[in-house]
């Protein structure tokens, strides 16, 4: 039996065939340094980079493609944003739903750069109340940083409402869309998102090593690095103009090509169709696991405002053990542990039992995959129940 891949929240796999084919073709035909020289091939490679800026700006309903900058991934993007927006004496608000891509930069800033950080907990269903964030606003609150969709419990946070509250107070709103970009629509204008961080290798269907930021025209981020831009080489400082302001050195042109192909594929399929497929599979998965007595799921009671990511445990069995059996005995790939989001597990009381098992559903999963997963978890749970008797 071939492997059943349910680790799409870590990275989507496989990618659409279009991504593989386009990357291979583009790298063979245009694998030069884009935007550095004036020969045709270089200009054409640069054109693809600019086309992809426009494509993603459109995709997120931004207005200025120069404000779409490429990074290595979301963590890289969020580091650029948070270190470039916060200064000593500033106050930042985040949540306990966050990935370490937000938690660790903010912790670093709080420990070494005099930034005060508040972390707002989520409620019993896995949602952060915008009112709880607003209640922590202070005169020196500079940034609210939160994720759009949880990489652990799959809940989609009310970012539009948080964005509105931030905009009213002139507080910059940074959103981590790692789990949602390519799964559900994102409109940076309607959601009042000032800075959007995204990664290319998850639901945007690109390869690893490519991500980015969209920075609204009314927002500025200090550059915290410096280097080559390919233009105005005699200038001794890093350029202030976007996109160069936040891009350093030769871009990952192969990654950008793959991201371009991945997003083109998404546009052809339609996000609504992909979301409907994944959520149908999630509902079946949750229903199936709910029928197993000694399986506990977390924040999966109501699948409204949710993406197709869920976590569970077989009672009394460490998550890592369940995951290893799923892998070795059932050929099902998933992720176990704390999922780089330790505060989610801490709030759920799971850190002491080493986290949970996560299934992340992608567009290429099928009904058969889900039934196999339900069956496999059922077998593991039954064995544990028999042992307990």
């Amino acid at each position: 039996m071939s492997m059943i891949y349910l680790d799409n929240a870590a990275t989507s796999y496989p990618k659409p065939e279009d991504t593989y084919v386009f990357m291979d073709r583009f790298f063979r035909s245009h694998g030069v340094n884009p935007g550095r020289s004036g020969y045709d091939l270089c200009m054409e490679a640069g054109q693809l980079v600019d086309d992809t800026r426009r494509q993603l700006t459109r995709f997120f309903n931004g207005t200025d493609p120069d404000r779409l900058v490429f990074t290595y991934n979301s963590t890289d993007a969020l580091n650029l944003a948070l270190f470039g927006m916060l200064s000593p004496g500033d106050h930042a608000i985040t949540t306990t739903v966050e990935h370490n891509s937000v938690l660790r930069p903010l912790h670093h800033l709080s420990q070494y750069h005099g930034v005060e950080v508040d972390r707002v907990p989520f409620d019993g269903r896995g949602f952060v109340d915008p009112g709880d964030i607003a209640a922590r606003f202070k005169p020196n609150t500079r940034v609210v940083a939160m994720n759009h969709g949880s990489n652990v419990i799959g809940t989609v946070q009310p970012v539009a409402e948080v964005g509105r509250l931030c905009r009213e107070r002139g507080i910059r709103f940074v959103v981590d869309s790692s789990q949602t970009a390519g799964k559900i629509p994102i409109d940076v204008q309607a959601m009042h998102v000032d800075v959007l961080a995204f990664t290319g290798h998850k639901s945007l269907m690109g390869p690893t090593g490519i991500g980015g930021l969209y920075v609204q025209p009314h927002v500025d981020i200090r550059h915290t690095r410096a280097g080559g831009t390919g233009v105005r080489s005699a200038h001794p400082f890093h350029l202030d103009e976007y996109p160069w302001r936040l891009e350093y050195g030769t871009p990952n042109v192969l990654g950008i090509a793959g991201l371009h192909a991945g997003v083109s594929w998404l546009e052809q399929q339609g996000l609504a169709a992909i979301e409907a497929h994944e959520m149908r599979l999630l509902r079946r998965l949750v229903e199936g696991l709910r029928g197993i007595p000694n399986v506990t799921m977390y924040c999966q009671d109501d699948l409204a405002d949710h993406i197709a990511v869920m976590v569970f445990n077989v009672d009394g069995f460490e998550a890592g053990n369940t995951g290893t059996i799923l892998d070795v005995d059932h050929n099902i790939a998933c992720r176990t542990g704390l999922h780089c989001a330790p505060l989610v597990h801490a709030q759920l009381g799971l850190d002491a039992i080493k986290g949970a098992v996560r299934f992340g559903i992608g567009p290429f999963n099928t009904d058969a995959h889900i039934e196999a997963a339900i069956g496999a978890v059922g077998e593991i749970a039954a064995a544990r129940a028999a042992k307990a008797r």
Partner: protein, 105 residues
């Protein structure tokens, strides 16, 4: 170096309770360490796993990957967990006198 006493015999172990000197391992040592897994009596299946781990370790200097362990012994991993409740790494390898695996088993 911590010392644990099992069935009246003292053993030097690491911080995770793994035997420090793999050379002193024998069947009696295995039975002693099996008590830490709640195994009152080693069955043929226990020995099958332990002997495979032991031989693999002596040949290659590391513990085998879990997939290989299951394939070579013909046991499903779920069964390995029934035999050694702490699992192949923390349970079976400990009884087999291997150092604590860092990522394979």
């Amino acid at each position: 170096m911590p010392i644990v006493e099992l069935n009246g015999r003292p053993y030097h172990v690491d911080d995770n309770g793994f035997l420090q000197d793999p050379q002193i391992w024998n069947d009696d040592v295995a039975r002693d360490f099996a008590t830490t897994e709640g195994i009152a009596e080693m069955t043929d299946e226990h020995w099958k796993l332990v002997r495979y781990l032991r031989e693999y370790y002596l040949q290659f200097g590391i513990a085998p990957m879990v997939r290989k362990l299951c394939k070579e012994t013909g046991l499903k991993l779920a069964r390995v967990y029934e035999l050694f409740p702490s699992g192949p790494a923390n349970g079976a390898c400990k009884v087999a006198g291997l150092p604590k695996p860092t990522g394979c088993v």
